[in-house]
Symmetry: C2
Subunit: 193 residues, 2 copies
Amino acid sequence: MDPIRRCVQQLARLPGIGEKTAWRLTWWLLRADDELVTELSEAIGGLKEGVVECGTCCTIASSSPCSTCSDTRRDPALICVVERPQDVVAIEGSGDFRGFFHVLHGSLSPLDGIGPDQLRIRPLLARLDGVQEVILATDPDVEGDATALYLARVLKPLGLKVSRLAYGISVGTEIEYADRVSLMRALENRRPL
Amino acid sequence: MDPIRRCVQQLARLPGIGEKTAWRLTWWLLRADDELVTELSEAIGGLKEGVVECGTCCTIASSSPCSTCSDTRRDPALICVVERPQDVVAIEGSGDFRGFFHVLHGSLSPLDGIGPDQLRIRPLLARLDGVQEVILATDPDVEGDATALYLARVLKPLGLKVSRLAYGISVGTEIEYADRVSLMRALENRRPL
């Protein structure tokens, strides 16, 4: 197959990249330095070989234990539970969290056949020694809420403090433009001044 | 370097792909089939090895002469001159053109040191045997206009019919929202009914 069309076809398989963007990227690559193209190709090709699931927090990383789990300056009494590895990156990016993470790799969704055994809940229960608080940072949707509820029921009897991320209107959102669900949550979770 | 961050960094070098999109694509690739990731990596890696500049029309293709130049059903009396290989794809996509192409690889831009010798104008002049009409399909900007004007001055004395693509308001554009320059061109190029 023509290498140009082949490249377009492969790029167009990526999410959010349509055929037009795939063509645009391919033409750009054809004019780019050979070195850049080789580096990109190798970075994609080497992505999966170089990663493992961290034996402690279950995130996807280049080593196990991952760099976060190896960080001795973190507070071992605090674990933040998230659905996906990318949520770890997002929360780390906020710069304010100094505890450890645990990645469930999904959320409870009985209709899709995803129950507690399909998530990394057992590895979470195995690492609770010394932990005082678990923050449930699952998504604010039906599955994420159900997962948080399930975990709260399991964790609270163990004497742990269990909390959930605050959901409300985003900082910077004008109330006029806030979506209904966020506004509802913001009202429910109102705080005394 | 961590293979995940390396992949993000390389993807973020692509035009129109910022760091957020690069992260999103990388997480998607991590969950995708190994086969898909390998195919994408190989398609990018093999892009440049498999292409040459066509000795006739100067487009970038997998063979020389390219598949368009080898197409004997085309009208040898008609050549459409474009700036870039992707313009060939766009015009072919319109489905209406049955002549041959010629790719200049740029447009005249004296300030950037791009004169006639930096474009594929000599190979164009070398293939005019039997040609009756040259359509100048350079971009409707200062450089594209200058290039078309230059080529018209060179080609007309050779007894060729020289034309330029019609520029006006796009089909489907409401006049209210048409940009000023296109509207100006549409007025200039108005046609009697």
